[in-house]
């Protein structure tokens, strides 16, 4: 540091050398900057962009896991995929899952956050309780759910019977398997969304509620509409995007509880990818499914950033 200062001082006091020395220092600084950025750039290439490019490349091959060779087959994987009934069922189920879990988890997360925020006592207790499903491993929790939803000795059917209603084979019935998974998905996501909404609620200036009260927003609903909801805009957008991406990724509950069944009624994209890639060893086809999945996630991310710039208000 002191060397640099001394150099600068020398340069400053010697007339005529300014331009050349500074130009030299500038080029040197530039290459140093590249050198310093290089490790991060290489790592990013290797860890993030490389695998992505690999998956996309793989989707144009007939590579099978463990096979010594492969050949380029162009869009054949995609042709096959779009002609496959299972893919379309899988895509439809995934979209249904997202369409149910996202609104459910966002609305419930917001509701719980509002309730916790408005109450005075036991705040941290409620926060921790609702956050438990997020912290717990979903696979372990899925086993608990399996017991709860068991047709004969499950808690859910037990309660229904006690209330005089008929039980269901929740996970074994084609009509209810996907929706049961949706409920578990919502249960798991609510806590995470709640924490994000709580953070958003805390950052709303208190004087806006005072102003709303003075301006005549007497009911809790009108204060919510006038202040809370618009001020939560950026948080809501983030929560919706994160919930949607996480719902697209649903896999563990499917794998543990239904294996995509019965008769593909709970087959989802990632599960299809898993079975194709790791059970039937058709890596090329699995990669093509992954590319479709990535396209949806990319679309969501773009949508979020496009909306995000409009939704932020600086006071």
């Amino acid at each position: 540091m002191s060397d640099a200062v001394a150099t600068l001082r020398r340069v400053a006091t010697t007339p005529g050398v300014h331009a050349s020395v500074f130009a030299g220092a500038f080029t040197a600084g530039r290459s140093a900057a590249y050198a310093l950025a290089a490790p991060a750039f290489v790592l990013m290439l290797m860890m993030l962009i490389g695998p992505l490019a690999g998956v996309i490349a793989l989707s144009f091959t007939d590579y099978q896991l463990g096979a010594p060779s492969f050949s380029w087959i162009g869009l054949s994987n995609y042709h096959e995929m779009f002609a496959d009934r299972v893919f379309w069922i899988s895509l439809k189920n995934t979209l249904t899952y997202v369409a149910i879990v996202v609104p459910g988890a966002v609305a419930l997360g917001l509701g719980v956050a509002l309730l916790i925020q408005s109450g005075a006592g036991l705040r941290s207790w409620y926060r921790t309780t609702y956050f438990l499903p997020v912290m717990a491993t979903l696979i372990a929790m899925a086993i608990v759910w399996e017991f709860m939803l068991h047709p004969q000795f499950g808690l859910v059917n037990g309660l229904l019977r006690a209330a005089g209603l008929q039980g269901h084979s929740w996970l074994q019935d084609r009509g209810t398997a996907l929706y049961s998974l949706c409920v578990i998905g919502i249960w798991q996501a609510v806590g995470f969304n709640m924490v994000l909404f709580l953070a958003g609620l805390v950052s709303i200036p208190k004087h806006l509620y005072d102003a709303a009260e003075i301006d005549g927003a007497e009911s809790a609903w009108s204060r919510f509409r006038l202040v809370t909801w618009p001020m939560l805009g950026p948080v809501t957008l983030f929560v919706v995007a994160i919930s949607a991406i996480r719902s697209f990724q649903v896999f563990d509950t499917v794998q543990v509880l239904t294996k995509g069944g019965p008769s593909k009624s709970s087959e989802v994209l990632i599960y299809t990818m898993y079975t194709e890639g790791f059970e039937f060893f058709r890596s090329g086809y699995g990669a093509a499914v992954t590319v479709v999945f990535l396209a949806f996630v990319l679309l969501l991310t773009l949508l979020k950033s496009a909306l995000g710039n409009r939704e932020v208000h600086y006071a």
Binding site: A211, G216, E218, R225, Y314
Partner: protein
């Protein structure tokens, strides 16, 4: 237009007592300032009047009707907040229109999308638009109506906040330190504008500030609050000239009033730093504080007190000389009207003050009456010799 009466108001947050029995009657159309150091409870008092905070005990009466249990909006008082509290997601127009929409449109008419289709909505919206535009023209913010608060300067936001307050023609205006976020120059300008607004609207204004200059320059009456109590209520000149308590004397006026340690002698004469003044008091003998405003201190070689100049403040039109004296903790500040005739720093100066400039306070800080002593008669013996 409203007369607001505050009776025996107490407020405590858990164990912290903020208001200790406040009684105050605010006349219809009056401009009154609640002034005091920060933490004295003035903002809490304003929030209780507004209905944003419930009192622990005591009553608020507005126009002869008890306001207890009446919602803030139903009290029909408007409030301007220190931070303006504009809705950042709404345009200036919508910000000003909020109180009107809340009052004139039903919940169904305010609903998004379908609200527009409700009968009568269009007509009401047209009237609201006219009202908002009228207020915007009055405050000269018409060109800003489409902007968001984030795109406005501090002074413009201030105007929008005032616009939102006046658009619904409230019974009284409550201002909570509205100018403290503005720079000094703009503050002076807005001071004049708010005073002008009061003359125009002739409505009751309750103005909370910690800046005594704002209170002195704008209001008809000042209520000085210190430590949760109203110490003195009166016209600015009366508060300045005739403070009832040493805390009021010290709070009002810049630079601060000079407080000399003094003593009331057994014959009623007042003594300061060992010098006997031409002032007497009926108060009992004992320690006292003798206060004199800077403009009443006269620099004069024949003055009864003396000290060394430690600091000079030349403001161009006037100057303040800070004089360090033995027996004083803080320098004595004297105002000099002609900055061309200032003593040098380090010079010894004599100074004094007329007996009628003295405001004396007892050990408890309460004002004690003083009057000018008759000229001291020479002792008879001296006359004989």
């Amino acid at each position: 237009m409203a007369e607001i009466e505050i009776r025996a108001l107490h407020k405590a947050f858990d164990s912290a007592v903020v208001l200790k029995g406040v009684d105050l009657t605010i006349e219809d159309g009056e401009f009154i300032s609640l002034v005091g150091p920060s933490g004295c409870g003035k903002s809490t008092l304003l929030r209780i009047i507004a209905g944003l905070e419930p009192q622990s005990s005591g009553e608020i009466w507005i126009d002869g009707v008890s306001a207890d249990g009446v919602r803030p909006s139903a009290r029909n008082l408007a409030m301007v907040f220190q931070s303006y509290a504009l809705y950042p997601h709404l345009s200036v127009f919508d910000n000003i229109a909020v109180p009107l929409r809340m009052k004139r449109l039903s919940a169904l008419q305010r609903a998004p999308l379908v609200g527009r289709l409700m009968p009568g909505c269009h007509r009401t919206e047209r009237v609201i638009r006219e009202d908002v535009e009228r207020v915007a023209a009055q405050l000269e913010i018409s060109p800003l109506l489409k902007r968001k608060p984030g795109q406005l300067s501090g002074g413009q936001r201030q105007r929008v906040a005032v616009g939102r307050a006046i658009v619904r023609q409230p019974r009284a205006f409550l201002f909570d330190e509205p100018l403290s976020n503005l720079d000094a120059k703009l503050r002076v300008h807005m001071r004049a504008e708010i005073a002008q607004l009061h003359r125009q609207l002739k409505t009751t204004f309750i103005y909370v500030t910690h800046d005594q200059a704002e209170a002195m320059t704008m209001s008809g009456r000042i209520a000085v609050m210190i430590g949760g109590e109203l110490i003195q209520v009166g016209a600015p000149a009366a508060i300045y000239e005739d403070p009832h308590d040493i805390r009021v004397a010290e709070f009002v006026g810049t630079p601060k009033i000079n407080a000399f340690p003094g003593r009331v002698r057994s014959d009623g004469r007042i003594e300061v730093l060992g010098q006997v003044l031409h002032a007497i008091t009926p108060a009992p003998a004992g320690e006292c504080r003798v206060c004199v405003r800077p403009e009443r201190i006269e620099l004069d070689t024949s003055g009864i007190l003396s000290g060394t100049v430690v600091h000079l403040e030349n403001l161009g039109s006037e100057a303040f000389v800070h004089i360090g004296s033995d027996g004083m903790n803080a320098p004595v500040v004297a105002r000099v009207n002609d900055p061309n005739q200032l003593p040098a720093i380090g010079a010894s100066v004599g100074y004094g003050f007329a007996p009628e400039a003295v405001r004396a306070f007892d050990a408890g800080g309460k004002r004690i009456a003083t009057s000018i002593a008759a000229r001291v008669e020479r002792p008879r013996e001296m006359a004989v010799v």
